[in-house]
Symmetry: C2
Subunit: 249 residues, 2 copies
């Protein structure tokens, strides 16, 4: 589990670093970025994990919603994906072990958030592991992948045609069997997001499931905002405050 430092830049009094390592789960080299605040010089800090959406680089693959950068944070069971596409285990097990072993991090205090496909990833990681994450939030998450075109395509490829197996990676299904109500979920969704109107995100289904289970969720439909990083930049401070409330409790 040797880490190779790729870059280090001072930023807001701390250090923004990028590392590369050989991933056991993914059978390939992986890179991650970590921000170490000034406090990390003298004591242990909580860890807040950020999961990106698809990289959306057309041309890198035949389609940008499947393949490189679009692993949907599942452990693939189907050939040829199952050897490398194990992002769920990577994010919930291998990466936290690596972070906890190499950085001044308190392993008891971790939270997770993400954008789009990464918002889906954050929700399923938290919902599949009660008590593991102190809090969860998402920007424009894919809330009910078993019912949307992106999810159907990805899950067919990675998990096979037996749709009963898909539910284990679907936030709307997972929240129905989530024990207790200790998870405080924050979701921001742009009202002018093209993927919302395309029926890819389906937050209403997730909210209805949360309401049925009485799981606390704050859902904010943000007038005029789209799916872009401008939307994320605008509201990310609110999300970090949401997590800090639980991570610093």
């Amino acid at each position: 589990m040797a880490l190779k430092q790729i870059s280090s830049n001072k930023c807001f009094g701390g250090l923004q670093k990028v590392f590369e390592h050989d991933s056991v789960e993914l059978n390939c080299k992986m890179k991650f970025a970590i921000y170490l605040p000034p406090k990390a010089e003298t004591g242990k800090c909580p860890a807040l994990y950020w999961l990106s959406g698809g990289c959306n680089i057309k041309g890198e693959d035949e389609s940008w919603d499947f393949g490189t950068g679009a692993g949907f944070y599942v452990d693939a069971t189907e050939h040829p994906w199952k050897t490398n596409y194990r992002m769920y285990s990577y994010v919930t097990e291998e990466l936290p072990q690596l972070i906890n072993a190499n950085f001044p991090v308190d392993p008891q205090r971790m939270s997770i958030f993400g954008h789009s496909m990464g918002g889906h990833g954050a929700l399923i990681c938290a919902l599949k592991n009660p008590g593991k994450y102190k809090s969860v939030s998402a920007f424009a998450p894919i809330c009910n992948p078993v019912l949307c075109p992106w999810g159907k395509k990805a899950f067919s490829g990675y998990l096979g045609t037996d749709q009963s197996k898909w539910k284990a990676y679907d936030a709307t299904h997972l929240v129905k069997s989530f024990p207790g109500s200790q998870l405080d979920i924050l979701i921001d969704q742009g009202k002018d997001d093209q993927f919302l109107s395309d029926g890819q995100l389906l937050p209403d289904n997730f909210i209805a499931a949360c309401a049925e289970k009485k799981t606390p969720v704050v859902f904010r439909l943000q007038e005029g905002y789209d799916h872009s990083y401008y939307f994320i930049a605008t509201f990310i401070t609110d999300h970090i405050r949401h997590h800090a409330k639980y991570l610093n409790a």
Copy 2:
């Protein structure tokens, strides 16, 4: 002077837009980005111009410190550059006219700042036009291009071998003949910036010239910071506050 909108994204309650137009000065299509805050819906706003550094994309040209993206904000006089490389006139004349004519901007309240080559650009635009800009600031600017390798190479190519003409685009020389002391200059410089130790930026020469002329300048040497966007991100709020003090006065 028709503007074609390329993109528009809601951001922090306002709109981040990109436009394309046919530039008269540069004889080519140009793009610029503009952020319209919520206040722009109901009244005129001041304008703060940001000049980028070189784009540093190796491979786009033979060398990234000369050619595309590295016009050094001068009006070139030499062949083959003189037809298109007129960024000084573009930034100080054509672009402000375009902005003032098409957006809710108060033409009396403008300021300018930038990074690296763009910091040089901001300084010379302000120093060559007393009273035109309310304030100026820069991140890691090229302060004395006539004496540094980047500047010598660029000015030889764009302005010819007569070095006396170079001084008209050199902040350290310009400040010596700047009338009055009404310009409040803020400069941030990373202490671990490789281009500082390489002798490309030469801020000491500029500071000495300001001291001689009693021109107010706040120069902050920031411990541990490099030349990157992480450095800019860390201190840009201070720069915007610096400009707001004069633009909102």
